[in-house]
């Protein structure tokens, strides 16, 4: 059976002046998998992800996402992806329902469909009572769940999550990963950056970035075998020691 790739990157590079944030990275992501994108702070994860989302133009190399070229067809790429940024970026002066309606509308969903999906989604999350609450009044954990739900509201092929669980408690993180699995079950490819090593264990495959380059890429089980250690944490430490850049 021929493999279906939804993301293919080849020599993808981004330079800011003299500084090379992402240095010729090459990898492929299968359709439907949960792909973990690991690295210390400043390793170039976010830059790479922004290039794949069409937010940042690559300086060199090429990449296709959902079959479209990120350099030439950025707007086509955007029709097929969802994105949740590191910094919470929903409108906090709009209500929960209004945020969903706005982004549903932007992706061209019909009003009736938006309303149905909103009600179903909020019921699943146990959010129904907060439907008309202003987003800024929600606790951080709820905001993160809402941001994720919004990123997959229009049923994209791929969802990009940039450190989605930063700053939330372990229970909420656990619940969050359940949401990710549910999305994955619906056939959505998940591309997630994180620096929590326990989360890395939940991924089908992970890549580890050091100083703008991908230093390792395989399933967590194979990586542990390859480095001869017991946990992803040790794999990461072994690689991170080679870093030249300060993690700032």
């Amino acid at each position: 059976m021929k493999e279906n790739y939804v993301i293919e990157a080849e020599g993808l590079t981004k330079k800011f002046g003299d500084f090379t944030a992402t240095n010729h990275i090459t990898f492929k992501v299968h359709e439907g998998e949960i792909f973990g994108f690991l690295g210390a702070n400043g390793a170039g994860k976010t830059t790479a992800m922004r290039m794949l989302c069409g937010l940042s133009r690559p300086s060199e190399g090429r990449a296709t996402v959902a079959g479209y070229d990120v350099y030439r067809q950025a707007e086509e790429v955007k029709k097929h992806i969802g994105y949740m940024s590191q910094k919470f970026s929903l409108y906090d002066d709009l209500t929960v329902a209004e945020n969903l309606r706005l982004f549903g509308g932007i992706y061209g969903m019909k009003r009736k469909l938006i309303n149905e999906k909103t009600d179903r989604l909020l019921a699943e999350l146990g959010f129904t009572s907060k439907k008309n609450a202003m987003v800024k009044s929600l606790p951080l954990g709820w905001k993160q769940k809402l941001a994720f739900s919004l990123a997959i509201f229009h049923d994209p092929k791929i969802v990009f999550l940039d450190e989605p669980t930063g700053g939330v408690d372990p229970v909420t993180r656990r619940q969050f990963w359940e949401l990710i699995y549910q999305a994955s079950d619906r056939g959505i490819t998940v591309f997630v950056t994180t620096h929590y090593m326990d989360e890395a264990e939940y991924c089908d495959r992970v890549s580890i970035m050091v100083d703008g380059c991908i230093k390792a890429l395989d399933s967590p089980r194979n990586l542990k075998k390859q480095f001869g250690v017991d946990s992803m944490y040790d794999v990461f430490l072994t690689l991170a020691r080679t870093a030249q850049r300060s993690s700032d």
Partner: protein, 371 residues
């Protein structure tokens, strides 16, 4: 119909802001009620000091005549010029009128006498208008003296003109009538220009623009969604301000109201586009505000708001040719004061339209969905 969702969002955010709706109501009231009363360059109630070196009946009468005029208020009579000058130095007086010694004698024997008028001309307009008012009163006085003494009756050869100035459009020379239409333009540039200039940059600072940029929303739709709400606000503000002008000052347009709206709409597109362009090129709110303030100041100064464009030298008049504020202000003033037709104002209108299209296109081009 993506646009509809985006516009609804902008309106909701605008109305949920604690300050903005208050500003929308209070600012027009402040601008229309207060500014016309203080923004006046009317020259009246000039304070004058007198040095009467003659102390004659005729010099006394001249002093009284000046003091009786509605343009002048007497500060006091002083024994010498230096004492009177001190009142100008301390800004207690604007003008010193000095009557020469032997004033009466000269007038009777030689027929010619002189009076010195020294005006504080730090404010050049006030100084020169004030001294010419004084000169006019003195000339009237001379004519009065001639009449009394029957000099004119002595011969028919004396040439005399009966000059009657008549002021059209603003017969009482009321400064308010001139300022209010211009203030409408100012109100629009302050709100409809300033708010967009901090809108996109605000979304950049908050990070929400990221979530929009990653969607397939088109640049045209996004910019339109930022522009249309402010144009609507502009039209609302204009209506409110025009009603205030009518209610408070009883000033209504002499020309077509529909034309005022047409001009206002195009002008709103122009200034909102300028605001959005500034916002697109700025990385933080402080920078955007300062940049907007800088351009607004130049637009206002070069528009004829305070001083007439016709008085400018050629090079700066050339600059005003690309100043949207100038054309909007000319249109508002003309439509308020004169019953002008569209034909009279079509050059201004088409120029504003061209600016609107160019600036709008620029606003779209300068909005970048990726870096």
């Amino acid at each position: 119909m993506v646009l509809k969702y985006l516009i609804v969002k902008e309106f909701k955010q605008m109305m949920r802001n604690i300050i903005l709706p208050i500003v929308f109501v209070l600012l027009p009231i402040g601008v229309i009620n207060v500014l016309p009363r203080i923004a006046t360059q009317e020259v009246k109630h000039l304070k004058f000091s007198v040095v009467d070196n003659d102390h004659s009946a005729l010099s006394q009468r001249l002093m009284n005549k000046i003091a009786a005029s509605s343009y002048f208020d007497l500060v006091g009579a002083f024994p010498n010029y230096n004492k009177a000058l001190a009142t100008i130095e301390s800004c207690e007086a604007d003008i010193v009128v000095e009557i020469e010694p032997e004033f009466e004698k000269n007038l009777i024997t030689t027929g010619v006498a002189s009076v010195a008028i020294d005006a504080n001309a730090v404010n050049g307009m006030k100084g020169s208008l004030g001294s010419s008012y004084a000169a006019q009163i003195i000339a009237d006085y001379a004519a009065q003296l001639r009449d009394e003494r029957g000099l004119d009756a002595s011969g028919t050869t004396v040439a005399k003109f009966d000059v009657a100035p008549r002021y059209l459009f603003n017969p009482t020379l009321d400064y308010k009538v001139y300022m209010i239409p211009a203030l409408l333009g100012m109100l629009l540039i302050i709100l409809v220009g300033f708010l967009p200039s901090i809108n996109i940059v605000g979304e950049k600072e908050k990070g929400t623009i990221e979530q929009i940029n990653v969607t397939p929303v088109s640049k045209i739709e996004f910019i339109l969604s930022k522009l249309i709400p402010y144009a609507v606000v502009g039209i609302f503000l204009l209506t409110f301000a025009m009603l205030l002008a009518r209610g408070i000052h009883g000033i209504t347009p002499a020309g077509s109201v529909a034309l005022i709206y047409a001009f206002a709409l195009v002008f709103c597109v122009v200034v909102a586009s300028i605001g959005l362009i500034i916002s697109n090129y700025s990385s933080n709110t402080q920078q955007a505000t300062l940049t907007f303030f800088f351009f607004m100041m130049i637009f206002m100064l070069m528009s004829g708001l305070l001083t007439p464009v016709a008085s400018m030298p050629a090079w700066s008049r050339a600059i005003t040719e690309v100043n949207p504020m100038r054309f909007a202000m000319e249109a508002f003033r003309t439509l308020y004061l004169k019953d002008a037709s569209f034909g009279d104002l079509s050059p201004q209108f088409w120029r504003l339209c061209i600016m609107a299209v160019v600036l709008w296109a620029w606003a779209i081009a300068s909005y970048r969905k990726n870096s």
